[in-house]
């Protein structure tokens, strides 16, 4: 692993640093501070990460050397991170208010990023889901935010193909979605074990890296890849899945569990399951409202569920639905075709949105 200095990074990215905001963006900034960040692909094919207002207007953009995927944010240190899309090898740590220079880290030898990560509760450590591809096991890389995000250690994710993860409120536990799908950088994004997947959800002790508990998918749902997670105000972990089995199956696509409890799948109405096309691309919890949001790019759908009752509150068509994040009330969603809430931009928004700050 090594640090790449900013000048090299920008050269590598082949992009010009646009520190000066466009007039429209300045206007947007005056009305509303950056509330979201999302990765994108620009019309010229370059990649970047943008900060946006509550209304979905772009405030600023930062170039990235390659396509990014998930993001995370620390409300303590006010740092955000964009992780390379699997099997990518970089992550960029930046300040949404542009107060400090971004830092780019690269994955360690024998590891690549899986596209997601999160900060410790105090913001001093960054955790990233990674692949030990020679050992075919998921790892959590640990980076020191007080020392230019140097990699200081790692521990197992206790499963294959970890993707998204989230942190408990007390910071003691990571909830990791081990998608169960084996990949290897020699084979790009090819899924190598679809006929013998091992999806699971693992709770991992952040102090020791020890497994606290692990929930495998039931035998009849071994092709249900657990991909994305979020946590609600009660500490309940919500997860969303992508099904690799027969297309005419109607598997459960999301669910939740609390520590010490069995997983509970959401019993979504059939029309909602059909609309999600066996593929939930992103999940978000609105802790204030007690709502869970799901998006499906394959189904072109965004769904809002009441976390207490499990009832679908609403279901919207959104072609190429990408990210979803908590809004002041309910959720804001984006699309590959450039929609972000009610705003339309000339970029393709990537799969995830991070909310910069808590509700």
């Amino acid at each position: 692993m090594g640090l790449i200095d900013r000048r090299d990074f920008l050269t590598m990215a082949g992009a010009v640093w646009a520190a000066a905001l466009a007039p429209r963006a300045t206007f947007a900034l005056s009305r509303s501070a950056a509330l979201y960040a999302s990765a994108f692909r620009a019309p010229d094919g370059s990649y970047g990460v943008a900060t946006l207002t509550e209304e979905g207007e772009i405030i600023a953009r930062e170039p990235l050397p390659a396509r990014a995927h998930g993001l995370t944010y620390s409300p303590i240190t006010h740092r955000a991170v964009a992780f390379a899309r699997r099997p990518g090898t970089y992550a960029m740590i930046f300040a949404p208010d542009n107060s400090v220079e971004p830092i780019v880290i690269t994955s360690a030898d024998g590891r690549h990023f899986y596209g997601h990560g999160c900060f410790s509760a105090d913001g001093r450590l960054l955790y990233a889901t990674e692949n030990d591809f020679a050992g075919n096991r998921g790892m959590i890389g640990v980076y020191d935010g007080t020392n230019d995000f140097t990699r200081i250690g790692e521990f197992p994710s206790h499963g294959i193909g970890p993707h998204d993860m989230t942190l408990s409120a007390d910071g003691r536990m990571l909830a990791v979605a081990n998608g169960g799908i084996e990949t290897h950088p020699d084979f790009g994004r090819t899924k190598l074990n679809l006929d013998h997947m091992e999806p699971s959800l693992a709770l991992v002790d952040t102090q020791t890296g020890a497994l606290i508990e692990r929930h495998a998918m039931p035998d009849n749902l071994r092709q249900l890849s657990t991909r994305h997670v979020d946590i609600d105000a009660d500490g309940r972990i919500w997860f969303a899945c992508q099904y690799e089995g027969a297309r005419n199956d109607l598997p459960p696509l999301a669910g939740s569990f609390a520590r010490g409890e069995d997983i509970r799948f959401l019993a979504l109405p059939e029309e909602t399951t059909l609309a999600l096309a066996n593929y939930v691309g992103a999940i978000a919890v609105n802790r204030q409202d007690g709502l869970v949001g799901l998006t499906s790019p394959k189904g072109g759908t965004a769904v809002t569920v009441d976390a207490k009752t499990g009832q679908v509150v609403r279901q919207d068509s959104l072609a190429d639905a990408a990210g979803i994040a908590a809004a002041a009330h309910g959720f804001i969603a984006s699309s590959y075709s450039g929609q972000f809430g009610d705003a339309q931009s000339k970029v393709a928004w990537d799969q995830h949105i991070v909310r910069l700050g808590t509700l």
């Binding site: 979905g56 084979f187 027969a246 609309a275 949001g293 309910g330 393709a348």
Partner: protein
């Protein structure tokens, strides 16, 4: 729930901020504006009946000939019978390089793909296993039934290539029923067995071919024509990507910082048998054949069909260049003219990838291109 929803509405708050919100849960799936849905069944039928099924049939027949030739070699070792095996090996490489672009369906089940071809072998783990089998005369490797249970790296085309062309292969022309030959024949039997399975899977009238030809709500593979068309395009996009990233760049990365890459010829697939470029040519030819045989242009809106000519032009240019690279791959990398062709192949590979991914993908309704929409 009703209470909560009415509360939000009464406060005039947008629960989910989306453009053109549709409240109705029965809302139909989004329409792919550009995709000619009515053309999908015919395109899928042609892809299956005129490319995939013939491809696996050819592979089955080719491996049958290969196995037969291998057994003849063991019984009557000579330069001539070895030549027959090597010739049929070359043919099977061509047949496999044609159909291997289809990396979906039965071939990715039960490790069939890896059993047929284990590549890349970056740390030479496969090579070492093959060498160990040869060094120890491991008799369990001389029957397809027991070979099947061994490492996938010791039972496919790469292993057979080493048996036929690697260090010590000269014994094949003199040793009657020698260990090396019997191991090679077992590999050939194993390839025949895998190819027969693939052929059988695709020939079942109510199996995968039916699933491909008739997308619909009860279909286990494609729920609708849009999904089927997207996956078909995915074969082309992933095919170009994987040839570039797994077959080309590892042995020659092109111009790096203004200088031609020195290359790693021993990372080239089939370098021992001289099949590197013939296999690459067959890969690209197969992509072009699938594209045209399935009549994929029929999926496009009428005013977007001009891209078809450009895609064909670039694919053909790649095949032409690949066919002109006739030196052994280590020499080709050092030869200015041949290296120039490799550079052009890399450029054209990137070009055709963009055309398929962005232009074709965009034209059939994948607004941000095919690759962008494959989620995670």
């Amino acid at each position: 729930m009703r209470h909560r929803l009415s509360l939000f509405l009464s406060l005039g708050l947008a629960l989910l901020s989306l453009p053109a919100m549709a409240e109705d849960v029965d809302e139909a799936a989004p329409v792919s504006a550009g995709l000619k849905l009515e053309a999908v069944p015919s395109v899928m039928q042609k892809a299956v009946d005129d490319f995939i099924r013939p491809g696996y049939r050819d592979l089955m027949e080719g491996t049958e000939s290969l196995a037969e030739a291998a057994h003849v070699l063991c019984n009557k070792p000579s330069e001539e019978t070895l030549g027959d095996v090597q010739m049929t090996f070359d043919e099977v490489v061509q047949q496999w390089s044609t159909i291997e672009i289809v990396r979906v369906g039965p071939v990715i089940e039960g490790n069939r793909f890896e059993r047929f071809l284990f590549f890349p072998d970056r740390k030479s783990t496969g090579l070492k296993q093959v060498q160990r089998i040869l060094a120890t005369n491991d008799e369990t490797a001389t029957a397809a039934e027991t070979l099947k249970g061994k490492s996938v790296a010791a039972q496919g085309l790469g292993a057979l290539e080493y048996v036929l062309y690697g260090t010590g292969a000269e014994v094949l022309t003199s040793e009657k029923n020698g260990f090396r030959c019997r191991y090679g024949a077992a590999i050939a039997d194993n390839l025949k067995s895998v190819a027969a399975e693939l052929h059988a899977e695709w020939e079942k009238p109510d199996g995968i071919q039916a699933a491909w030809k008739t997308p619909g709500p009860d279909n286990p593979v494609y729920r609708d024509g849009r999904e089927a068309a997207t996956e078909l395009l995915g074969i082309l996009v992933h095919g170009v990507e994987s040839i570039r990233d797994q077959r080309l760049r590892p042995f020659y990365a092109g111009i790096v910082k203004g200088e031609p890459d020195k290359g790693h010829p021993k990372l080239a697939i089939y370098w021992r048998s001289g099949n590197t470029m013939p296999a690459l040519s067959a890969n690209f030819m197969a992509l072009q054949t699938l594209f045209n045989t399935a009549d994929m242009q029929a999926l496009l809106p009428d005013d977007r069909r001009s891209m078809v000519r450009a895609i064909n032009y670039v694919l053909q240019a790649i095949v032409d260049d690949a066919d002109q690279i006739d030196l052994p791959i280590d020499e080709a990398i050092k030869d200015e003219e041949q290296r120039g062709r490799l550079n052009r192949i890399l450029q054209n590979t990137n070009d055709v990838l963009q055309r398929l991914n962005l232009d074709f993908g965009g034209a059939i309704g994948l607004g941000a291109g095919f690759s962008f929409a494959d989620g995670d």
